[in-house]
């Protein structure tokens, strides 16, 4: 079987959007894909050693709520951390893996994790805050792999 390639760009830094890149990358690796994730802009949050990812109901009318909450109330202090806590509890009760666990599985499966150097500089991130074993590169680095990929996803 010839090895297929999957290239993913991860651009979002919220708890909910952390799942698609790590779920797809880990699964693709299990299926024998050579996989790379390029983290850019807010997606760089997914590479932090200490993940403090949150979900926000604001601007997200599709988020299922246990009870209807008016938009202005969703903006109150503490709402975001409460929603995040509830989401994490829900995921745990349903046997959904944590982001940390999925990321660890990706690392174990040798998924290539590339951080966008430009956004690291732009946001003045300290690379010591990122997990070990990641690479740094730019758009050309991404295309070196993505140009040969069978599937390319922008998340």
């Amino acid at each position: 079987m010839t090895e297929k390639k999957l290239a993913i760009i991860a651009t979002k830094g919220t708890l909910d959007w952390a799942y698609p890149p790590f779920i797809l990358a880990s699964t693709a690796s299990a299926l024998g894909y050579d996989t790379e994730i390029f983290f850019t802009f807010y997606g760089l949050q997914l590479l932090k050693k200490d993940l403090t990812l949150q979900v926000s109901p604001l601007g997200n009318p599709g988020m299922p709520m246990p009870m209807p909450v008016p938009v202005l109330l969703q903006a109150l202090p503490g709402m975001q951390s409460m929603m995040t806590m509830m989401m994490k509890q829900k995921m745990k009760s349903k046997g959904v893996a944590s982001v940390e666990e999925l990321r660890e599985l990706c690392v174990e499966a040798e998924v290539r994790l590339v951080a966008c150097q430009m956004t690291v500089d732009l946001f003045e991130f300290d690379t010591k805050d990122f997990i070990d074993g990641i690479e740094y590169g730019g758009a050309a680095t991404f295309f070196e792999f993505a140009g040969q990929s069978d599937i390319c996803l922008y998340i």
Partner: protein, 76 residues
Amino acid sequence: MADFDRELDASGLNCPLPILRAKKTLADMESGQVLHIIATDPGSVKDFEAFAKQTGNELMSSGEEGGKFTFMMKKS
């Protein structure tokens, strides 16, 4: 006598964990050995078919018993 070599209980785990655990367990097995998998995720039925098709491991049988899904997979 058990008609499998290894068993994986993925009960309570959700997508994609049953597949990832199965892949990991298969990696420690030898070609021709059979893995018995138990899962509760209804999505795992289609997923294990797709996993077998793409990895070349043979899904010998699958079934459902009291809300649990079981699979027999032979390592390629």
